[in-house]
Symmetry: C2
Subunit: 153 residues, 2 copies
Amino acid sequence: MVDQIDAMDRKILGELQRDASQSLDEIARKVGSSKTPVWNRIRKMKEGGVIGQQTVILDPESLGLEACFFVLVRTNAHEAGWQEKFLKVLQKRPEVLEAHRLAGEIDYILKVRVKNARAYDEFYQALIKEVTIYNVTALLSMEEIKSTTELPL
Amino acid sequence: MVDQIDAMDRKILGELQRDASQSLDEIARKVGSSKTPVWNRIRKMKEGGVIGQQTVILDPESLGLEACFFVLVRTNAHEAGWQEKFLKVLQKRPEVLEAHRLAGEIDYILKVRVKNARAYDEFYQALIKEVTIYNVTALLSMEEIKSTTELPL
DNA sequence: CTTGAAACAGTTGCGGT
DNA sequence: ACCGCAACTGTTTCAAG
């Protein structure tokens, strides 16, 4: 699927990432094509899973979510089923916006959005109650310098 | 602005986050209202900055962006203008998807999306060439367990 | 809040290159 | 085979009650 994506596709993706509310005509004009071919390309990329969810970015502050933590998780007890349980808890918790399994000493990193430090502690307590964790370091974000969902094309 | 957001607004935001391609009628039906009032609420929340960019989520793998790093940055030389320069570099670089200024020992965390480890090294070399950095730790993501732009409402 | 109408955009089929 | 045209259908936008 990767190789099938040509320069025209990338231009379209760029426009969609930037502003998905644009009309087909507008996008077509910008990429130097017209409605139908652009529509067909978009359809194929949706089918192929290149284009996923269409969404709006909300302002966390406006919604009272004023704290953001990056959580570094170390585990040494790799019992059978532990990871499965851990993943299930992360999926369930809406304040966990991202979770990655890492290479190296730190096993996982989480990005957690909450109302305040107190809400983070509640999350943390709930987490360690459900799964045993060897070591946790929480990094508190003071300022979001940059935040984008736009991938480099 | 925060207090003005009521339960109905939150329901609408939930639907928009989940799928911004839905028609107004569909959203109105789901939240138990009708077209015009829903439209007016959305308009107000756009004006108020609660609702930001409308976008599509692209699949990084399909676009050949197979590596994701979290970069922990420590700096001790806080010369005048250093931070400004650092921010400018981060803004300029499209592979930097997120950047936060932190409380504590680690000063910044970055999330960087690139083609492969080689591309990360190129980014790293370019970064330290432009600004002096005391210490850098790169955490390589092996697996994206969870990734969402949907905030908890 | 509801109705409704005018402008606009998405979707599909057809003919041309 | 793909593109662009154009008609049709559905959606957004907004005014009036």
